[in-house]
Subunit: 182 residues, 2 copies
């Protein structure tokens, strides 16, 4: 869980990164950036910040902001009510992000698996994304990603987002952010 | 129709606008920006430039580039094979764009209806979009838009794009670009 103060600071930091990249938010969007620590309480290392632009029953678009070396932990999007799981296209806008998906493991990966969580990272096929580069993750495919030393901003274009049914490899993870008073 | 030279110049101009806005393209994307004059041969006034990021059977994402006062002409996205028509979210990234949809006509609209095409613009409910502002157009709803005096860049998030079945109010329009040698 995160305290209200931690959430506020992470929001401000993400907003500053977005502004630096020339991505304009409304004041309301800035005030409601989602700060997801995945319930692990180590936001600097595991988690991400999200601007939810739109999520309809047909498509979804978000901006993902990753602090330096911050990691979105391994997960997949299962099928739901007969519909295939969420399909996602990640387009790097700023910085570098290393994306890992199922497939032949890359010999020496560039990301650093977060210490103490090694058991919960199992796919290591590396795709490096720099600004302008993108990759589409098929439904129900395990994936995780980590920003480089300067952090990263990634646009996510996808089918409908249903974050609450994402399946994380790490059973300790709770996707829905919990905020406590300082 | 457009000549190859006109297409090339419009691509270079759109690429420059995108770069100025901090939006990075790959060299391949830059070289294949879609220049759509809608078959009217008056690109400066009617048409638009498009970067197609991704178009799957579930979602689509594009960057739309409009030159100063350039107009995307009135059209709608009909239902297809039992599926509702394309739903689109327009998010302004740079400049100003005025979007017109069905509904109560705005008294004094800010866009200028292209001369000689007045009969083919019939909806005048105005939504002004500045950077960070967005609007979602429901399926099968007539809409058109025009950039302000500096041009505009608009991200389009949507369900699957099937440009070839768009229904334009102006019967002269051909959506699929035709390029002829200079």
């Amino acid at each position: 869980m995160l305290t209200r103060g931690e959430t506020k600071r992470a929001r401000a930091r993400a907003a500053e990164m977005l502004a630096r990249a020339g991505i304009v938010l409304t004041p309301e969007e800035r005030a409601t950036i989602e700060v997801a620590d995945c319930g692990l309480g180590q936001l600097e290392r595991i988690g991400l910040q999200i601007v939810n632009y739109v999520n309809t029953d047909r498509y979804c678009a978000k901006e993902l902001v990753l602090f330096p070396r911050q990691t979105c932990p391994e997960h997949r999007h299962p099928s739901v009510e007969g519909e295939p799981g969420k399909m996602e296209t990640f387009r790097c806008r700023w910085g570098t992000v290393w994306l890992y998906v199922e497939g032949v493991a890359t010999a020496a990966i560039k990301a650093r698996v977060p210490e103490g969580s090694e058991a919960h990272f199992t796919v290591f096929h590396e795709i490096a994304l720099n600004p302008g580069e993108q990759y589409t993750v098929p439904p129900n495919t395990l994936h995780w990603f980590q920003a480089g030393d300067d952090g990263a901003i990634v646009s996510e274009f996808s089918s409908t987002s249903r974050d609450e049914i994402d399946l994380f490899t790490d059973p300790r993870i709770e996707r829905t952010p919990k905020i406590v008073e300082d």
